[in-house]
């Protein structure tokens, strides 16, 4: 294990190889994080079944330190949006995302979560979760095979590896205030669309 952490430019005194590592703070911090990404136990649709299959014996997510799926967002690092997000469910999804502590990652699993998939034209379907919450990794497929999901999870690990404490948003002074939770009205109301909505309303009045 120490060899994995070593920065090659520092020489370790002979006789101490394999027991001591000289490394950077970023490296050891990310090394710890990448092997303990806890996904949220949160299934939306068909893809959730393949997510569970990935946790099963044959594919075994535990090899990546991810076997502990937590149902509470407060204990999670990774939200796997596994399936079709409907308008009725979206407020809950956004709220769950807001409740997750930083550092947090989002993996959009499957065609529906990434862009609406076969149900894109449905009146109750959100055509892509990325219109509401930021997504780190997209995994295509309907549903993606467990192998594909594992590949996506490894991409999350790669992303973690490349982050630096100096720049990551959760150590900056300016804290993110979270995403406004959409409201269910005659149709889904995204509060960030408010100005545009009002503008349209005023245009109509002017025309009238």
């Amino acid at each position: 294990m120490p060899n994995e952490l070593n920065k090659p430019e520092y020489n370790i005194p002979p006789g101490m190889e394999g027991t001591v590592a000289i490394t950077t703070l970023d490296r050891i911090y990310n090394w710890g994080r990448r092997y303990s990404v806890w996904p949220m136990f949160f299934g939306l649709a068909c893809c959730a079944i393949e997510m569970i299959a990935t946790a099963g014996a044959r594919f075994d997510m535990a090899r990546f330190g991810m076997e502990i799926m937590r149902p509470s967002p407060r204990q999670c690092d990774l939200m796997i949006v596994s399936g079709t997000v409907t308008k009725k469910m979206l407020p809950q999804v956004v709220r769950l995302y807001n409740q997750m502590p930083e550092p947090k990652y989002v993996l959009s699993m499957g065609a529906c979560a990434s862009g609406g998939g076969p149900f894109k034209r449905g009146y109750n379907v959100v055509a892509g979760i990325d219109k509401y919450i930021p997504v780190d990794v997209y995994v295509p497929g309907c549903p993606p095979t467990p192998q594909a999901l594992l590949f996506g999870l490894m991409k999350i690990q790669e992303k973690i590896d490349n982050q630096s404490i100096k720049h990551v948003s959760w150590y900056q002074d300016q804290q993110d205030e979270g995403i406004p939770v959409p409201v269910l009205g005659p149709d889904l109301i995204d509060l960030r669309d408010f100005p545009k909505l009002m503008e349209k309303e005023q245009d109509k009045e002017v025309q009238a």
Binding site: I52, A53, G56, P71, M89, A127, P186
Partner: protein
């Protein structure tokens, strides 16, 4: 077929003689059943139930006949002792569709009437709680009406115009001012808009103080939301439970969090395009879903499209493998719900993977098989698969079933948690239109494979699994019984599997479906999976409705949970075995 028709006509005759003025035979081309005047519906249905033994109302749905300016409510009635269908229809003017509610006679109609109100705007007079069920209160319009247009509307029916006109990709989002799947009705002003106050129940945990009449002691009633994000609701399902201490006083299931507009999309699709969508209804059992849809459309297509022998056997093999897969997972997740966190489920997933290997080999996909076609199946079994299935059904699966049985069935904790919990009596089960394992665990030996055989199920030797207590434990045990019966069917089917064609007709993308309606049903792993299809003679269905077993089994959930402890809610829900893709569609 002919025998059945004469029996049906005899039945009709009796009813017609009884009610000469209010009942007519539906004589539209390709239709069957009885047309009843709306004001006489209740009394006639009562007679049908009590005197003609049509006690099992499986499906209620509506059809919007826009050109005729009519709304039609279609009831599918069966006898719980077996036999074929009696269709009853009520037509009302489209401008003011009001139909008397059947909840008093058949409590199982409750959720389905709410669904018809939600999606089609048919008002059911006398329904105790006629609120939206799949969409939320306050949603604008009734989306399944033919003149209701969704945001990303491109045309009435598929296939749509070229997506790449002159080599440029056109995206449907660009046509929307918000770039999203959102429209607001005219005159909607977000500043003056007041949200429809959802019932206080649904706002979150609330405490109501109640003074007991007899003792004068003040107690607290607590309203608790389980879900929609909850590890043991099997997806995005929500139960609003009113508790006093640990006891459940009231329970309201809330669904629609996975309402993916299956039916609206299905009515825009061509007939064959719907096949892959049926995979995504009950995503454990895509093969059975395909089976039901294929049977329904084959009924409309007629004799020429009867699948050849080999295809019939392959269909049965795949459907029964699906049942085993589903029941293994149901058992695994049920134990999850009881608190045996994930170990039994992992055993179940292991067996599921072996069956999925077969599906992947024959259909190309693990979960979404899209394997059946009208008139057969899409491709033949690849080499070596027959041997693999044989090994599974003769060796591996019986052994693993016994192993699971040995670990779980006699387990003290399982028995303690589930015996005498969540009881559903046979009378209640029939009244609530419960189907599948839930019905049979209550002592009603109703299995469509026996009661109204389809495909080639009349050739196989198997028993209808039945248990008599109607509690959670019996609903758990009956899944073992059904796995064993399915293995019996599979052993016979794989031994008798003939050589030959697998498709009755040439492979085709488009089918000209004759005018008419058709209700096809199969005994899916979760119960009666029915499809109601109306064709107006074009390539696209005019109406496409799915009678989902999980959805209708939930009608009895409240009754099962009343008076139980809050910890049992999860066990009761687990024993019904719902899949949200099918509940919400």
């Amino acid at each position: 077929m002919n025998d059945q028709t004469t029996v049906m006509n005899k039945n009709y005759q009796k009813i017609l003689e009884r009610f000469p003025h209010d009942v007519q035979v539906d004589e539209r081309e390709g239709y069957s059943g009885l047309l009843i005047e709306a004001n006489q519906l209740l009394s006639i249905m009562e007679t049908l139930r009590d005197e003609y033994e049509y006690d099992f109302l499986t499906s209620v749905t509506g059809v919007d006949y826009l050109p005729d300016e009519k709304m039609e409510v279609v009831y599918h009635l069966f006898k719980s002792t077996g036999g074929s269908i009696l269709e009853v229809k009520v037509q009302v003017p489209r401008s003011n569709p009001v139909v008397p509610s059947l909840v008093g006679l058949y409590p199982g109609a409750s959720f389905q009437e709410r669904e018809a109100w939600d999606l089609l705007g048919i008002r059911f007079e006398g329904h105790p709680n006629l609120t939206r069920i799949l969409m939320w209160e306050g949603f604008a319009g009734h989306p399944l009406r033919k003149d209701w247009i969704e945001t990303f509307f491109e045309g009435d029916v598929k296939p749509y115009e070229d997506r790449w006109p002159e080599g440029k990709v056109s995206k449907v989002e660009t046509t929307n001012p918000y770039g999203k799947n959102i429209t607001y009705p005219d005159g909607f002003n977000p500043e003056t808009w007041i949200p429809d106050s959802e019932d206080l129940l649904f706002q979150g945990s609330t405490v109501v103080k109640v003074e007991q009449e007899e003792t004068g002691i003040e107690t607290e009633q607590l309203v608790v939301n389980l879900g929609p994000q909850h590890p043991s609701t099997h997806g995005v399902f929500r139960m609003v439970a009113t508790l006093e201490g640990e006891t459940v006083l009231d329970l309201e299931p809330v669904m629609g969090y996975l309402h993916r507009n299956h039916e609206k999309i299905g009515e825009r699709n061509t007939f064959s395009m719907n096949m892959p969508y049926t995979d995504r209804l009950d995503y454990f059992c895509s093969m059975s879903n395909n089976f039901g849809y294929a049977l329904t459309v084959e009924k409309l297509l007629g004799e020429k499209y009867q699948p050849p022998e080999r295809a019939q056997y392959i269909r049965v093999i795949m459907a029964e493998l699906t049942r085993i897969l589903n029941h293994f997972m149901a058992i695994g997740f049920f134990l999850n719900d009881l608190g045996a966190y994930f170990t039994p489920a992992l055993y179940a997933i292991k067996e599921r993977e072996l069956i999925l290997d077969i599906f992947e080999a024959v259909a190309g996909s693990r979960m979404m098989c899209n394997y059946y076609r009208f008139g057969g199946v899409v491709r033949d079994l690849p080499g070596g698969i027959e041997e693999q299935i044989r090994k599974l059904v003769y060796d591996r699966l019986p052994r693993q079933t016994d192993e699971m049985d040995r670990y779980l069935v006699e387990n003290e904790i399982v028995i303690g948690r589930s015996q005498d919990v969540g009881i559903l009596t046979p009378e209640q089960a029939i009244a609530f239109s419960a189907v599948g394992p839930v019905l049979r665990a209550s002592g009603v030996p109703y299995d469509i494979r026996r009661a109204d055989p389809y495909s080639i199920y009349d050739r196989f030797d198997f028993d209808v699994a039945v248990r008599y207590h109607g509690d959670v434990y019996d609903r758990f045990l009956i899944r073992f019984d059904e796995i064993r019966q399915s293995i019996r069917i599979l052993q016979q089917a794989i031994d008798d599997l003939p050589e030959g064609e697998i498709l009755a007709n040439k492979p085709a993308y488009k089918f000209r479906i004759p005018k008419g309606e058709s209700y096809g049903r199969v005994e899916g792993p979760k119960g009666e999976l029915g499809y109601y299809v109306v064709s107006d003679g074009t390539d696209n269905p005019w109406r496409y409705h799915v009678r989902a077993p999980s959805f209708i089994n939930l009608t009895g959930l409240r009754e099962m949970c009343l008076g139980e402890k809050v910890a049992d809610l999860v066990a009761i829900l687990g024993s019904i075995d719902i899949v949200l893709g099918e509940v919400d569609r």
